[in-house]
Amino acid sequence: MSIASTTQQICFLVLSATTVIGSLGVVLLPNIVYSAFLLGGVFLSVAGLYLLLNASFVAAAQILVYVGAVNVLILFAIMLVNKKETLAAIPGLLVRRLLSGAVCAGLFALLLRVAFTTPWALPGPTPVGEEATIRIGEHLFTDYLLPFELASVLLLMAMIGAIVLARRDVFSTDVITGEPADQGLIEKDRTPLLIETSANAPTLLTKP
């Protein structure tokens, strides 16, 4: 990328601030729809960071896959499971949040220390810049051919698995017992299959 150094620094500051603030919003906002849209913003600014790192192909893939597919999928899931429910209070929630916050802050300090004390072998080879897409294509069809093909198999497996997991049960008879399956249990009345009588003893709902 042939833009001036100051412009790059300003872009980096803006993009990293958007990334960090957006990710904090994703985790902390009470409304999950806002979190999902902020997550899209985080993905977009991460794609901007990739552009600053001379990786235009991966930036395009990031926008297409993350913003276009993953974020839309998450929004769909939110729309499908969006039910206002009052979450039961949990004892020691604040303690848990503070403890995990301390652990995460410690992890952050450790990572920063590693990043700033390790003597990186800089400057490395000159970046290929705009030829990065060509190099990625060469890699994918020569030395990374097997992982590339395995990735396609993985995507096929994930697609079939997602369909199998998410579709409603359409069998007319129960596979195990041979009794006619109660479709109303699944389709019409939204009685949960597992109801909790007490806090720790879930019991199977008997068929009416």
């Binding site: 990710s23 993905f43 991460v46 600053l52 990031q62 998450i74 899931a77 993985l154 949960p192 597992l194």
Partner: protein, 109 residues
């Protein structure tokens, strides 16, 4: 291409942003009550790892950009993980009528 010898942005700055993103993701993974938010935190952590890979690929491996190839594979696996995770979440919601992580405790001691 960055022409001057010293890049205007140090490598450590990218690593710091990625570390921050990863730690926010870990915190959200532990503390979220909503299962969808847990999946979103996992995506944040994967993105942090990707930023690290891309930064190292550009600064230390500028000719053979193996980090970028690896980041593409990570993006692929993340997409598969999101699809399967959300399908599991939908079937959980269908069975339990909730997305509260604290109530998914059938396998808990």
């Amino acid at each position: 291409m960055i022409s001057d010898a010293a890049s205007p942005i140090p490598l450590e700055a990218f690593l710091a942003v990625a570390a921050m993103l990863f730690c926010v993701g870990v915190w959200g993974l532990i503390n979220s009550r909503n299962a969808v938010r847990v999946l979103m935190s996992i995506e944040l952590m994967l993105n942090a790892v990707n930023i690290n890979l891309m930064a190292f690929s550009d600064y230390l491996d500028g000719q053979l950009i193996r980090g970028q190839v690896f980041a593409i594979f990570v993006i692929t696996v993340a997409a598969a993980e999101a699809a399967v995770g959300l399908a599991i979440l939908l079937s959980l919601y269908r069975n339990r009528e909730t997305v509260d992580m604290e109530r998914f405790n059938l396998l808990r001691w």
